[in-house]
């Protein structure tokens, strides 16, 4: 039962989802580079972004661009708060403890969101209407174009930030060698907070963009977050380029897998890929294995 004639459609939907995964993976990557942590609450950022737009747009009635910006800013603040509060005040600096604190944060946010937004899925209209555009035989939703376009914009901005601004270079310096960065006068604490803020913003964007297509409920963050993580591992843990390529690749693989095999197992595909990568090439496509010292 091969639906190969649908290939262009699978491809477009794969790239659409892949862009979202890439954004989430970038969020993981930022925090991991700045602190060495895997932030389990990343997926909750995604969910929160969408839920806030829902509130701002549907409940309060703000125009969409305003709701969009407000939601991104709010989640960025929540990201900073996560770092400033629980993570910074942890008495034990052990990585495992910090990672588990983010697990706790993730569950707390999920629980709180259930009480605020209820158990139902929420949705709001797509940015560019619902009438599809035809590109190369494939019907493409305007929302897909928005997703790809905005992801591209974010990538360009991030690139400029990291390579053209002093602050961005400082973040890269911290990722490379935190102790060295402190010694030359970089405030690592502020940059870590910045990393959490940025990754909150990117997570929120991902959630806001995908919701008109898939809708969003309080418990959807975990799955999206994990897929972003899987994308990051696929591309190479800690590599920015890897996060983007891994995200797109994962989106496409998942889309074709679901289309050609069975959509019931769509969500399982990402994790099979995750396990496979860990098995075959744990450094990912673009990552390098670090040498450990005693």
């Amino acid at each position: 039962m091969m639906n190969w004639h649908l290939a262009p459609y699978f491809f477009v939907s794969g790239i659409t989802n892949g862009s979202i995964y890439a954004l989430i993976a970038l969020g993981f990557c930022l925090i991991q580079n700045a602190t060495g942590l895997v932030n389990f609450a990343q997926g909750e950022f995604v969910m929160l972004g969408a839920m806030m737009v829902f509130t701002f747009y549907h409940i309060i009635g703000l125009p969409m661009p305003v709701a969009f910006i407000l939601a991104v800013a709010a989640v960025a603040l929540i990201g900073v708060a996560l770092e400033r509060g629980p993570i910074r005040h942890s008495r034990n600096r052990d990585i495992l403890t910090l990672v588990m604190i983010t697990v706790g944060a993730s569950i707390s946010i999920r629980g709180a969101s259930m009480m605020v937004w209820g158990k139902n899925a929420h949705i709001y209209p797509a940015f560019g209407g619902d009438s599809p555009v035809f590109i190369l035989n494939a019907a493409v939703l305007p929302q897909s174009l928005w997703i790809m376009g905005l992801t591209l914009v974010v990538l360009v901005l991030l690139y400029l930030f990291f390579h053209r601004t002093l602050l961005g270079k400082a973040v890269r310096a911290v990722a490379d060698n935190p102790h060295g960065a402190v010694l030359i006068g970089i405030s690592v604490r502020r940059l870590v907070a910045l990393a959490f803020g940025l990754s909150g913003a990117m997570g929120a964007m991902a959630g806001i963009l995908i919701t008109p297509i898939t809708s969003m409920s309080y418990d959807a963050g975990l799955m999206l977050g994990l897929k972003g993580f899987a994308a990051g591992i696929l591309g190479g843990s800690g590599s920015t380029l890897g996060a983007v390529v891994g995200g797109l690749l994962l989106g496409v693989l998942e889309s074709f897998g679901a289309g050609l095999v069975s959509s019931a197992y769509k969500d399982a595909i990402a994790f099979l890929i995750l396990l496979l990568i860990l098995f075959v090439k744990p450094a990912g496509l673009f990552g390098s294995v670090r040498v450990r010292r005693l």
């Binding site: 990585i95 990672v99 588990m100 706790g104 707390s108 396990l275 098995f279």
Partner: protein
């Protein structure tokens, strides 16, 4: 082989727990409460396994709900759909889970970092999806009904009360097993892996194998709980085994104190009862679990139970006024006894074939390093380095910082794999062996920064060195068989003997952090001698010591040489090097630039310019 098994050392606490558990159903008339206790026992079983995993690998699994679920579903399918007899279904379910856990552990436990958390989390999600989607086998989202109750022959467990006695007995047996395991040679090694896995590896502890074994064991506990659950409630659905359950059991572990077996039980009791008390606020549960998990980790990361215990202990007067006598005097005394020709009570290196190194065919020494090269990216850390070490010989390896000295030691002990070359001990190439195999072959080492285990006493630190000398595995350790106990006693005796040789007997039970730097270094040296190595690698042994102290250490090195040990000594202190080295090899930028006797090297112009400095005339 006797079949006698023994209870854990603190059997009194265990007996008390058993007595309380036995009394509860007598006091509780309402069977609903027994249901709560039964759920508690199931949780406690999963928590027990998870704790064992955390205690030994220092890694966390967020996939134990999946193993719990697999135990339940596999057994349900085997016993209900396939109509297999219960014992067979039980075996099949557990074997399958063991296999799955094994396959999952192999790639992930090899990696450093948080991969296990993610891999197990991903695994849990896949398993939940499978439970929901494979409707023809699992009944899909609506669940799997009609599972037979537990029974064996005429005995059937049909009421909450029966199940209570059954499940808690089972739990207590496994609890005792786990306590025994953690209090044994294997358990010590597991804790050591958690604290410093690479160091443990160089002591001959097969860290990777132990981690995988523990993971499988831990998954089996969960699967066993799942099996009992399925045949107790007779109906299962995917919702029970989703990721939230994994987080719940993890929270129980954290509240009880990660890695604390007793704490885990307490955490389970508290957190299983809590939702019952908050029965009316069901929507709050998720938030509550999240907040508890986060709060405990932030404010009391060692867990609530250990925190309370340490508060109680602080209230008691401190009996250990660390005997910080006159250290200088102790050093003097040690020096005197070394000068007055004491001998080390060591099992000499077995006189194998290779020890006849001074023989005419002496093509290879005891340890033969041949053409070893290793590059890190663009940096050539070692470039065709080769030399030999014989027994009764101290070869000093000197060179400026960054010359590749420690890198070479790491290559020899298997921590790094060279791009090229061989490291031959007794005619056997060790390149490619994992560090613990290299240690077993007879290579002991100490480290530049002392690598002792802070959570262990002096004696326990030394006992880690005896790991390869013991043979008792997980099973006999858990059952505390007589042969295991004999072996443990024997190892302890030998460790005490060795401590005596290093004048550390009276400090055997002290925490290692109370030792002076010299004593720590001596302890580390003693530990590396415990498994009777043929070759000893000493990485800056006298670094940080004052001249008197370093003389004590040099005294021991000389004694070791006299006992037949081949020694590679990396050292910056030229006085020490010139005094005790039989040969010196000089490394610079990864290349050997000179070798010979101390006198030859001292006069070598290359060495003088590269390292010792050019004299202005």
């Amino acid at each position: 082989m006797s079949l006698h098994v023994a209870p854990p050392r603190n059997w009194k606490a265990l007996l008390l727990t058993a007595a309380i558990l036995w009394a509860i159903p007598l006091a509780v008339r309402n069977d609903y409460f027994l249901l709560l206790f039964n759920v508690m026992a199931l949780n406690a079983l999963v928590v027990l396994g998870l704790n064992l995993l955390i205690a030994s690998t220092g890694q966390v699994s967020l996939g134990h709900a999946a193993f719990y679920g697999l135990g339940a579903y596999l057994s349900a399918i085997a016993s209900t759909t396939l109509q297999w007899p219960l014992p067979l279904a039980f075996l099949a379910a557990l074997l399958c889970v063991a296999l799955i856990a094994f396959l999952l552990a192999i790639p992930t436990l090899r990696l450093e970092g948080n991969y296990l958390v993610m891999a197990t989390l991903g695994f849990n999600i896949i398993v939940t999806i499978l439970f929901t989607q494979m409707e023809e086998f699992t009944g899909g989202p609506s669940g799997f009904p009609g599972i037979p109750r537990l029974s064996l022959g005429p005995l059937s467990i049909s009421t909450d009360r029966h199940f209570y006695y059954f499940i808690w007995t089972l739990f207590l047996i496994l609890f005792a097993f786990t306590l025994n395991l953690t209090d044994s040679r294997v358990g010590r090694a597991l804790l050591a892996i958690h604290e410093r896995d690479l160091t443990s590896e160089t002591l001959g502890i097969p860290t990777y194998r132990y981690k995988v074994t523990t993971f499988v064991l831990s998954a089996l506990y969960a699967a066993l709980a799942g099996f009992c659950y399925a045949h107790y409630v007779t109906f299962i659905s995917p919702k029970t085994f989703d990721i939230l359950y994994s987080v719940q059991v993890l929270t129980m572990v954290v509240v009880g104190g990660m890695g604390s077996i007793w704490g885990g039980l307490a955490g389970t009791v508290v957190l299983t009862s809590l939702p019952e008390l908050l029965h009316r606020f069901e929507d709050l549960h998720v938030l509550l679990y999240g907040l508890i998990l986060m709060g405990v980790l932030i404010f009391s990361p060692q867990g609530l139970v250990p925190a309370v215990l340490s508060l109680l202990q602080r209230a008691r007067p401190d009996s250990e006024a660390a005997g910080s006598g006159n250290e200088a005097l102790l050093v003097e005394r040690a020096l005197e006894s070394l000068r007055s020709g004491r001998t080390l009570n060591l099992r000499c290196a077995p006189a194998g074939t290779g020890t006849a190194s001074s023989g005419p065919e002496g093509a290879g020494g005891l340890l033969d390093i041949r053409n070893v090269s290793l590059g890190f990216g663009g940096l050539q850390a070692l470039n065709e380095v080769g030399f030999q070490v014989n027994s009764c010989q101290v070869v000093a390896l000197i060179g400026p910082n960054g010359a590749g000295k420690t890198t070479l030691l790491n290559v020899i002990s298997g921590l790094l794999k060279p791009d090229m070359g061989q490291v031959v001990l007794d005619g056997r190439d060790m390149v490619g062996m994992p560090p613990h195999r290299v240690a077993e072959c007879g290579v002991g080492r100490t480290f530049q920064a002392v690598q002792i285990y802070q959570h262990f006493s002096v004696l326990e630190n030394l006992l880690l060195g005896y790991h390869v000398e013991g043979g008792a595995g997980f099973l006999s350790a858990g059952l505390r068989t007589p042969s295991e106990r004999r072996e443990e006693r024997r190892l302890r005796e030998r460790a005490m003997d060795l401590l005596a040789s290093f004048d550390l007997s009276d400090k055997a039970s002290l925490p290692v952090m109370q030792l002076t730097l010299l004593e720590q270094k001596l302890l580390e040296m003693a530990r590396s001698l415990a498994f009777s190595p043929r070759v000893l690698l000493l990485d800056e042994p006298v670094g940080g010591l004052n001249p008197k102290e370093s003389e004590v250490l040099v005294g021991y090195i000389t004694l070791l040489r006299r006992n037949g040990m081949g020694i590679i000594l990396v050292e910056h202190d030229m006085n020490v090097v010139m005094r005790i080295a039989d040969r010196i090899e000089v490394l610079q930028h990864g290349c050997l630039i000179a070798s010979g006797t101390p006198r030859e090297v001292q006069q070598n112009p290359k060495v003088i310019t590269a390292y010792l400095g050019v004299r202005k005339s």
